[in-house]
């Protein structure tokens, strides 16, 4: 069996003394979208931080296509093909739109089907092309989200992590972001999608993992969960 695109195995992670992730295991199959759900404070962003190398786990292992990456610094993990669209977007505010993209540019790995370049990102997000000389901090929320996605794509990742990409956006922009994710999936990118919006996740995801207080409480295919044999409300609160 082929290696998973990304896997977290038995991850224990701490902020200071607080034990935020307790034995978390999840795997993202190549070409799939894995939806990661959970209440506020469940540990979703912490999983992202562990995967990208910002928060080294105290126990457990993160692997990218079978290669262990935990313990490596973030820039080394990025070079191996992991990219993040972070919660809150975190674009480089004082840089121009164009600079936000060019600083992230990396050569695609050999044989990449859809190499991302500045032109490709501008074609995918025409509004970024129009605003390319503008200081990124002055963009609207939706435009900043497009820029955060474009920046992640510029590194030609093999695995894309997206942390609440719909947060704080108008419905029309959310729809646009979702169709972008769908398109990326069709191009074969493996995506780990964190969302509060359960409906969006069920529309897109092949597999679902639910976290509760730093533990995995549900891990299944989206199809099984749609069939409704598990009480999502119990794990996610009111939706």
């Amino acid at each position: 069996m082929a290696d998973d695109a990304l896997s977290l195995a038995g991850i224990d992670a701490f902020y200071g003394d607080s034990h935020v992730l307790q034995g978390v295991s999840l795997s993202l199959a190549e070409g799939h979208v894995l939806g990661l759900l959970g209440r506020n404070g469940a540990g979703k962003t912490t999983c992202m931080n562990v995967a990208v190398g910002l928060l080294p786990p105290r126990a457990g292992r993160v692997s990218l296509f079978g290669e262990k990456v935990s313990g490596r610094p973030p820039e080394a993990i990025a070079m191996r093909g992991l990219a993040l669209v972070p919660q809150g977007r975190r674009i480089f505010r004082s840089l121009s739109v164009r600079e936000n993209l060019t600083v992230a540019a990396r050569k695609p790995v050999a044989g990449a089907r859809h190499p991302w370049t500045l032109d490709a990102v501008f074609a995918a997000f025409p509004r970024l092309a129009e605003r390319q000389r503008q200081t990124a901090g002055y963009l609207s929320g939706g435009e900043q989200q497009m820029l955060a996605i474009g920046r992640a794509l510029m590194s030609n990742p093999r695995v894309l992590l997206m942390d609440e990409p719909s947060e704080g956006l108008a419905p029309q922009i959310v729809a646009e972001v979702m169709s972008t994710i769908r398109r990326l999936k069709e191009q074969g990118l493996s995506i780990l999608l964190v969302e509060q919006n359960v409906k969006l996740v069920f529309d897109l995801a092949d597999d679902i993992v639910i976290l509760n207080s730093g533990r995995v409480v549900v891990s299944n295919t989206a199809g099984e969960l749609r069939a409704g044999r598990i009480d999502l409300h119990q794990h996610l609160g009111v939706f």
Partner: protein, 286 residues
Amino acid sequence: MSQWLLLGVNSVSLGGLLFLLSAGFSLIFGLMRIPNLTHGSFFMLGAYFGVTLLQLGWNFWLAALVAAVGIAAVGGVIERLLLRRLAGQELAQVLVTLGLSFMIADLCLMVWGGDPIPFDAPPGLRGALPIASIVFPTYRLVVVVIAVVIAAALWLLLERTRLGAMIRAGVDDEAMARVTGIRVSRIFTIVFCLGAAVAGFAGVIGGPILSVYPGLDGDMLPLALIVVILGGTGSLLGALLGSLIIGFLYNYGQVLFPELAYIILFLPMLLILLFRPQGLFGRHVP
């Protein structure tokens, strides 16, 4: 009349030297949050390296360039071996860099002795240049041109290159820059070495004006601090204008109110700290 004009030229050329000194200090503080109190030592050490090469018969400009490279190496070692371990601890950085500056001063005293070592401007630039019935000291004009060229080069590097954008990205959000694959640590070392190199270079080209002597470091460091506080940290334009202001205050102050020289230098700094702590041109992030 011509005396005042001459004082103006001296002010601008001192401003140029101060810019070369404080640009690096300002970038290192503005970008890396390191208050590098060895910056005056880089200036002095550069001058000593330069004068030694001149005594060996080297060409002046080559000596200045090689001294700059030497100081970049010294800066790189200090940044990698010491400051890197103290990231985020500003008080420790102040103490370590201050301690280092005393150690460097001692070493210089041991190697180069206690007497000032004067050195000459490159041949051909020693005389004076008559422009419209006023004679200007040629070398000082050349220093001004060099400072302007280096200021423009630094600005282009920071604002118009991918490396410059990476530096600014690292300042905006260091964690996110690393996640994006930018080697922030290596880039900050480059900034530190570059700042050190420009200060060392300034020490050599300032030599024909200031000479080099024990205590040159301590004379220059406070001027760099005032410049940076006036102009705002992390801003090249701020460093440039702050340097010019201090260049003028220093020269005219010494002629007009010799007994108040320090008040004239430090008073603007106090006012800025009180009323506009980010400096005249502090970095603005939307």
